[in-house]
């Protein structure tokens, strides 16, 4: 038998809904389906098999290949291959996704490897943002470089980096205020922060509970500022995982870590088995 257009069109909705129900953004789900279509159309297969199973296997294969690419890079290796100490890591993302908490977790990881870490608070806007990072610093025994509310976020980051150079820190982790990817002024501010600091690595933090908005957030942050890697948070909230597929399909950027809770230890390296078990399993 072979898969003809009519058969494919009849069955594709089932696959599309499967992806969407698992939180893959609609646009990406449609794109994935059309790629599978061009691969499978007129391909011959065993009479004893069902067409829908051929489609499902092809989808599974696509997802595994895609996610394997996202899982293959190592954050620490990338850091040392792209710069020299003090490395600077800029954290960006939408409001409330978990940037500040993730920075604290990564600081904990760095410290446990023996790195001298400096935290920098370039969120000079949101209520309690500076106190929040200071408290993390105190709990972790890591210094926090900060100015007052209303200070220029780019200046905080730049001066923190200069301070890190003189004091011989290994890495500076820079927090920024959460922002709407469609706020022109805030995205312009972020471009300036990026230009002034010129970080070794930019990390986009995304909420694994988010739906279609993951598509728009990743696109706008990539187009306006760019990012080198992604960290997904709140994976412990019984998420479907489709958000990871959305970003991996859009950009060949690594998913460095997954946030799996609110404690400092709750940050794990992205491993494809996680997705295979929750989503494809």
């Amino acid at each position: 038998k072979e898969i003809d257009l009519k058969t494919f069109e009849e069955l594709k909705d089932e696959l599309l809904l499967f992806l969407v129900e698992n939180d893959v953004s609609y646009e990406v789900a449609e794109d994935i389906i059309s790629r599978i279509r061009s691969k499978l159309l007129h391909v011959k297969y065993d009479r004893s098999l069902e067409a829908i199973d051929i489609l499902k296997d092809s989808l599974k294969e696509y997802i595994i290949d895609l996610m394997s690419i996202s899982a293959q890079r190592d954050y620490f290796a990338d850091l040392s291959s792209r710069g020299s100490p003090p490395y600077s890591v800029l954290f960006i993302g939408f409001n409330g996704v978990g940037k500040t908490t993730t920075i604290a977790k990564l600081a904990y990881l760095h410290k446990n490897r023996g790195d001298r870490v400096l935290l920098a608070c370039s969120d000079t806007y949101r209520a309690g943002a500076i106190e929040q990072l200071i408290e993390h610093g105190e709990r972790l025994g890591i210094p926090v470089f900060k100015y007052e509310y209303g200070a220029d976020p780019a200046a905080v980051g730049y001066d923190a980096l200069k301070y890190a150079e003189t004091k011989k820190y290994d890495v500076v982790l820079i927090d920024t205020a959460g922002r709407m990817h469609v706020d022109v002024n805030l995205m312009e501010e972020l471009r300036k922060i990026n230009r002034v600091i010129n970080p070794t690595i930019k990390i986009l933090v995304l909420d694994a509970l988010a739906g279609n908005d993951v598509y728009y957030q990743s696109k706008m942050f990539m187009e306006k500022v760019g990012f080198d890697g992604v960290i997904f948070t709140k994976i412990d909230a019984d998420v479907k995982g489709g958000a990871l597929i959305t970003v991996s399909h859009l950009y060949r950027k690594p998913i460095y870590f997954l946030g799996v809770g609110q404690r400092y230890e709750d940050l794990v390296k992205f491993d494809i088995n996680y997705l295979v078990n929750t989503l494809i399993g």
Binding site: Y26, G96, V97, G128, Q132, V182, N212, D213, K240
Partner: protein, 291 residues
């Protein structure tokens, strides 16, 4: 744009007296796509379009409406039946009226507490505010800074108290008889964090809120239903506030949460400032939901 395709599908049926199965299914499919793009839970989307189809096929349209106007009316009716058919207003029935805010991590609770404090103080109420969030670093600082800019709002500082029981009892004691409305912030939590769900149950038991708002982030995806259901199974939810509607997300999670809890939408968060709170309006919300 989704609303263009939906409009076109509806246009195709507008001049007909009788609408065939194919055209109706076309319209329903466009609605499904619009709602899925808006992040409404897929199961709810299909339940909804099945109900719309059934009503269209069994009910007699009022003769003053065209076929097109009638199908639009059914779609609108079925959506607002879940979300709220009119501006939902919270009636302050006693004094002090205690309002608790709950929700997932980062959904916008603390910011929304400050927005509600501003909203009610503008209406002339004397407002008291405190936080039971003993988990998040500087949670109390955040609420303190947000409310410091609001007149007629009394903020109770609970920074050094780590016992939720004591925080509630001491704060309620400190809020004098002149306070009309008490707003209480809680820590973020999700359905897998069982000890936090128990804490929320305990907070409800001691505080005895007169009304509880579930704050939902407009960007939430398919898990909105399950998460809202877990909150609903733990405490009594009176209403829903959907935050971060000033972005690209259309807030379908609100529909899923309303379905799971039976609660209606009361307010929409449209920015980070304390003034960025709008009252729910069925027409604008449904219009936005459908694209």
């Amino acid at each position: 744009e989704i609303s263009e395709r939906l409009k076109k599908a509806i246009e195709r049926i507008k001049n007909r007296v009788y609408i065939d199965e194919k055209s109706l299914n076309e319209v329903l499919r466009e609605i499904q796509k619009a709602l899925i793009l808006a992040d409404v839970n897929v199961k709810i989307v299909f339940e909804l379009t099945n109900r719309i189809k059934e009503r269209f096929e069994t009910e007699k349209p009022p003769h003053e409406l065209t076929i097109k106007e009638y199908i639009i009316k059914i779609i609108f009716d079925e959506l607002v039946k879940i979300l709220g058919e009119e501006k939902n207003e919270l009636i302050i029935t006693k004094k002090p009226f205690k309002i608790m805010l709950i929700g997932l991590e980062g959904s916008g609770k603390t910011t929304t507490v400050a927005k509600l404090a501003y909203y009610y103080s503008q209406k002339g109420y004397k407002v008291g505010v405190f936080s039971t969030d003993i988990h998040r670093p500087a949670a109390i600082d955040q609420l303190e800074q947000l409310t410091s800019q609001i007149k007629n709002v009394l903020f109770i500082d609970t920074k050094n108290e780590k016992n939720v029981n004591k925080i509630i009892i001491n704060s309620l004691n400190k809020l004098n008889k002149k306070i009309d409305i008490i707003l209480v912030d809680t820590a973020g939590r999700h359905k897998e964090e069982k000890s936090l769900l128990n804490e929320m149950k305990l907070i409800e038991k001691i505080l005895k809120p007169d009304f509880t708002f579930l704050v939902i982030d407009a960007t939430i995806g398919q898990k909105a239903y399950d998460q809202a259901k877990a909150f609903h199974d733990t405490v009594k939810i009176g209403g829903i506030i959907i935050s971060k509607m000033d972005g690209t997300a259309r807030g379908g999670g609100a529909l899923s949460a309303a379905t799971a809890t039976g609660a209606k939408i009361y307010f929409i968060g449209t920015g980070e400032k304390i003034r960025d709170l709008e009252e729910y309006d069925p027409y604008s919300f449904v219009g936005r939901l459908l694209g």
